[in-house]
């Protein structure tokens, strides 16, 4: 496979884009734009849109950073640019 710095950088950018899409969906989409519509669904006492805004988005953010750190580590090794 192509191990050039350009290929490494585009793999990095691809990962960042994927994470940013999820980041946008849980906060801006589910928590704000679609919140009024999601509120008709309930999660216990939580209307769903309210839950995303007040709870859910934050859990996903934590997961996203660890996923990013893990995936980035793998990319670093694949392209042999990791720290010794």
């Amino acid at each position: 496979m192509n191990k050039s710095p350009q290929a490494y950088w585009s793999a990095t950018l691809r990962l960042i884009s994927i994470v940013l899409v999820v980041w946008f969906i849980v906060s801006y989409l589910a928590g704000i734009i679609l919140a009024p519509a999601l509120n008709s669904i309930h999660l216990g006492g939580y209307p769903l849109g309210f839950w995303f805004a007040h709870q859910g988005s934050m859990y996903v953010f934590v997961a996203l950073i660890f996923y990013y750190a893990y995936a980035m580590d793998k990319i670093d090794r694949e392209f042999d640019v990791h720290e010794e």
């Binding site: 990095t12 994470v19 953010f61 580590d73």
Partner: protein
Amino acid sequence: MSVQAWIYLMVGLSFSLYIGIAIWSRAGSTAEYYVAGGQVNPVMNGMATAADWMSAASFISMAGIISTMGYGGALFLMGWTGGYVLLAMLLAPYLRKFGKFTVPQFIGDRFYSKSAAVVAVICLLVASITYIIGQMTGVGVAFSRFLNVSNEVGIYVGMAIVFMYAVFGGMKGITYTQVAQYVVLIIAYTVPAIFISLMLTGNPIPQLGLGSKLAGSDLYLLERLDQIVTDLGFGKYTTSVPGSYLNMFMYTLSLMIGTAGLPHVIMRFFTVPKVRDARMSAGWALVFIAILYTTAPAVAAMARYNLLATVYPAALENKPLVAPDQGIRYDERPDWFKRWEQTGLLKFSDKNGDGRIQHYNDKNAALQAKAEQVGWKGNELDVNADIIVMANPEIAMLPGWVIGLVAAGALAAALSTAAGLLLAISSAISHDLVKGVFKPDLDEKGELLAGRIAMVVAILVAGYLGLNPPGFAAGTVALAFGIAASSLFPAIMMGIFSKKMNKEGAIAGMLVGLFVTLFYVFAHKGIFFIKGTEYLGLIGGANSFFGITPEAFGSVGAIVNFIVAFIVDKFTKEPPAHIQELVENVRVPRGSQVIKGAH
């Protein structure tokens, strides 16, 4: 033991702990002073970042504001956590690889220009000082309650303590002290929340309690809270939005981008040994932050419920609230009420002379008409949102030691952030401005001295403006985020992700972004936040830009910054080859070095 004695004991104990750690690990060299020798473990660094990050705005002010805002308050929750995702992916690892001390240093080197560094110092100073004003507001609330004095005296005492605290030791002292502060503040925040959640819903986990039924009732807590607040003419708790959805969107975005652009947070990622650790550090920081941030909405809703149930005991029996003889009698008001009245942050005025407290939304015309029929002549209770968190355990009648613990936690939050910010300010002035630009031969001693003078000036300015704050602690802090978002974040991000971005573009972007944002903010809040110098007429009235509030405007400023930078970049010559190589080098982790020494 009395509540007051518990407060003294808890605050005294926590302070001796911090001072002990600070003395034990006093900084030696300049390098240690700023970045603790690049030797801090990611989990510890995450915890210290969390303490640094969670300020008076998060601890004291945020849940109170959410409590009055309801659903819309989520903009603080999402805004102040989502930014870590940006920070972890877009900035932290690359800045760590770059291997310098400060943000202006990065901008100065990457854009091969001292002017760029100076502009970055200016942006950093404006953002950090605004941030400290918000801290001072919060410190004033904490100390006024703690010492039973007025809010003003509280701020003076706070200034003195922040000063003594910050000039001791540097980052290394601060890193370990902040780990201790995190532990104190997170216990102080969650313990009362667990108690209150257990009392109201029977579920000890606040995050679950918020979605549970009220103990001994068929109604969910949020459902019942919605009923009570709408009965009193306030917006429905689970759906009320600040201004518009567009404003909420831009506000959240502004806080997220600002998070990733704040120098005292970014500096944290210089202190980890490896690039890999910088990524993990951001994750750990967010874990520790999220523990408080997911608890806050429960604290907010439960405090609102408890406060209203205290004023209207009838709410507990599902009786109508807007009715004759409702509202507790003023002379039967609880003790916490009396204590907070002394601070001037809780005010009662008996407008209809019935000796009872009526608290409702008198700006709601339909409700006001109904209220007049039962003899109510307007809202009689004025609650400053900043007192909610600290009063919460007292309202819920929790034991004295819990109240003492919360006071200690609030002070920890305010002091740790103020110290981190002052460190960022002092390094910007002494390292980047005085040594970097004006007097390159300055020795270490002179540099530390310049830094300490900068701290004193910053504390005095912030304290003075904190006496007449531009808003609640969290609102003022939000302005600081907007300023960072519109000036520093775009420049750093383009410095990494756009190899061809040149100095002309970056400088123009920072200046225009900062100027546009300040112009809009000062129109609402006064020039440099000085009361009486607002110029709303000039911009066509409050929130005239698509209904966007000044706190949310940072995201607009950031977009302007990017656009201006790219346009100017197009018409000026591209950066020299060695700078483009530098950018390529920053993008890969291999070859990062532990930062040692001052250069």
